[in-house]
């Protein structure tokens, strides 16, 4: 672990230089402990693939005190109050079809696989939530099977419909709201990913794991899915 100053009330905590389960585990564990032990000082935490950005209240502590507290919190034993170190698994229903999977055919062609094979490969695996950013609730999940990896679209769409499930490289993600974007869209979830009026706010957090479940058109509609382009 490396702690480096960024500005007068922000520092970065680095846990390694490689994207993967090991760094992700360390980030999740540290994020839980910082939340548990430093809620009096911390203004914002931004966990990502291998690091956590920590912003604190300068009125309460200077940078030396913060480094001491961060080290103490992260080195502390698990007392069970953070729910342990095991990840929460979130299951997301996805309707995989050309009707909403705007690039499903391109992905199949690129992979040289049938639609059913692409869907099976995408949905049979457990994904790690590595980071959240780009837009509120936009979760970067990794890593997909190399067989269905595909570069971003050369020209991004101006509007990607809410709930779209996309692939870029070996990452996959769900668009929580309608935004511009260049990921290759293979399906759509009826599940609301962010809801600022609910208590949970965002469905997935960094450190969670996600599994996709293929559903039919009927089930998609039953669950409140929207077939519109926007």
């Amino acid at each position: 672990m490396r702690i480096e100053s960024v500005n007068e009330n922000t520092c970065m905590v680095y846990f390694g230089d490689q994207i993967g389960a090991e760094s992700a585990g360390l980030v999740k564990r540290a994020t839980d402990r910082l939340r548990r032990d430093m809620s009096d000082l911390i203004v914002d935490l931004v966990p990502s693939y291998t690091s956590i950005l920590v912003t604190w209240d300068l009125e309460q502590a200077d940078r030396f005190a913060i480094v001491r507290r961060v080290r103490a919190a992260i080195d502390s034993e698990d007392d069970g109050s953070t729910g342990g170190d095991s990840a929460r698994i979130v299951e997301l229903p996805v309707y995989y079809d050309r009707e909403v999977g705007l690039d499903l055919e391109d992905v199949c062609e690129h992979a040289g696989l049938s639609r059913d094979e692409v869907v099976r490969i995408h949905s049979e695996q457990l994904y790690q939530v590595y980071a959240i950013g780009f837009a509120p609730g936009f979760a970067y999940l990794g890593s997909t099977d190399e067989r269905i990896a595909i570069p971003r679209k050369s020209t991004p769409r101006l509007k990607v419909p809410t709930g779209s499930v996309g692939i870029a490289g070996t990452q996959t993600a769900i668009y929580p709201s309608c935004t511009p974007g260049g990921w290759q869209i293979i399906g759509r979830t009826p599940q609301k990913m962010v809801d600022w009026d609910s208590d949970s706010l965002a469905l997935v957090q960094v450190g969670d794991q996600v599994r996709f479940r293929a559903i039919s058109r009927d089930e998609f509609l039953e669950l409140g899915g929207n077939l519109d382009e926007l």
């Binding site: 994207i19 959240i132 780009f134």
Partner: protein, 312 residues
């Protein structure tokens, strides 16, 4: 008690100190581009320091007072007038029922802050009213809209007039050449000595591409030894260097994470000074350190507590 927006101008936004505690969900902070001016406006009125205000960019903003009130104006001098009489920034003013307040065009600086005694009372979304249009959060109704003609700015009754002002020597001069201290950090070590020298000796021009997300600068291109980095959290004031080598200073509505190398970071107070400069102004950088930024901020926070002439 309320004001009515007659003309919204180019960009007038409801802002408080920012939406904190949600960046892990990808929600940016928003908040005042110039913290120095924002906090002083509330302090002059004896408000809570994070009480909601209006951030007016470029001017051409007009309102009518439906009730009398005590207001404070700080930040850029956008040629404010009450009933067509020029009024000075960095002080409080009394405004009567029926009065008209206009911000005309920038005399100095780019963004003015309008605070009212007791603070405006917009909807709160995720604990804040900071307007971030791209996220659809904040503003009067909580959905991220900028102010529009006919909007009603409500505030609580607070009739007593306080005459307070920031002493002249403490008022920032937004027209003097801007030279900002950079706190080395992030990928600083991945910029070679030659690249750093270039960065610290160049006069950068502020481009046309400036908004609340970031300030794009134009000047000597600098390059790090890295193609990209593993995406990581971006602090307010971080200086990002994309492939074209032209630095971008990331401001209040910045994305929460990003994958471009960063040469360092400005202090919040320095980023606020940059936010008062428009396209065509120049800015240069020198190597500073986090101790200096921390010390200056602590002094500022202390200074705010002391108050100013007339402040209770």
């Amino acid at each position: 008690m309320s004001f009515e927006v007659l003309e919204p101008g180019m960009l007038a936004l409801v802002q408080d100190a920012g939406r904190h505690g949600y960046q892990h969900m990808g929600v940016t902070t928003g908040g005042p581009m110039d913290e120095f001016a924002f906090f002083w406006a509330n302090r002059l009125l004896g408000n809570d320091l994070d009480a909601p205000q209006i951030e007016i960019t470029f001017g051409r903003f007009s309102l009518k007072a439906n009730h009398e009130a005590c207001i404070a104006i700080t930040g850029g001098d956008l040629g404010a007038r009450i009933n067509d009489q020029a009024i000075a920034p960095w002080r409080t003013h009394h405004i009567n029922k029926g009065d008209r307040l206009d911000f005309t065009t920038p005399v100095s600086g780019l963004r003015a802050y309008l605070a009212v005694s007791g603070g405006f009372k917009p909807a709160m979304k995720l604990g804040s009213c900071a307007t971030v249009a791209r996220e659809g959060l904040g503003g009067l109704d909580g959905k991220g809209a900028k102010l529009a003609k006919g909007d009603t700015l409500e505030f609580e009754k607070n009739a007593s007039f306080v005459e307070a002002f920031l002493p002249e020597p403490e008022v920032p001069d937004y027209q003097q050449h801007l030279r900002l201290g950079v706190i080395p950090g992030y990928q600083y070590r991945s910029f070679s000595i030659v690249q750093r020298e270039k960065f610290f000796s160049c006069d950068y021009e502020i481009s046309q591409n400036i908004d609340r997300m970031g300030y794009r600068l134009k000047g000597d291109a600098i390059h790090s030894d890295l193609d990209g980095i593993i995406s990581e959290g971006i602090a307010y004031g971080a200086i990002q260097v994309p492939k074209d080598g032209q630095p971008i200073v990331l401001m209040k509505d910045r994305q929460t994470i990003g994958g471009y190398p960063k040469i360092g970071c400005l202090s919040a107070l320095d980023a606020g000074l940059l936010a008062q400069r428009g396209p065509g102004s120049s800015v240069s950088f020198f190597l500073s350190d986090v101790a200096e930024a921390e010390g200056r901020r602590m002094l500022f926070n202390q200074r705010l507590k002391t108050g100013a002439p007339g402040v209770r």
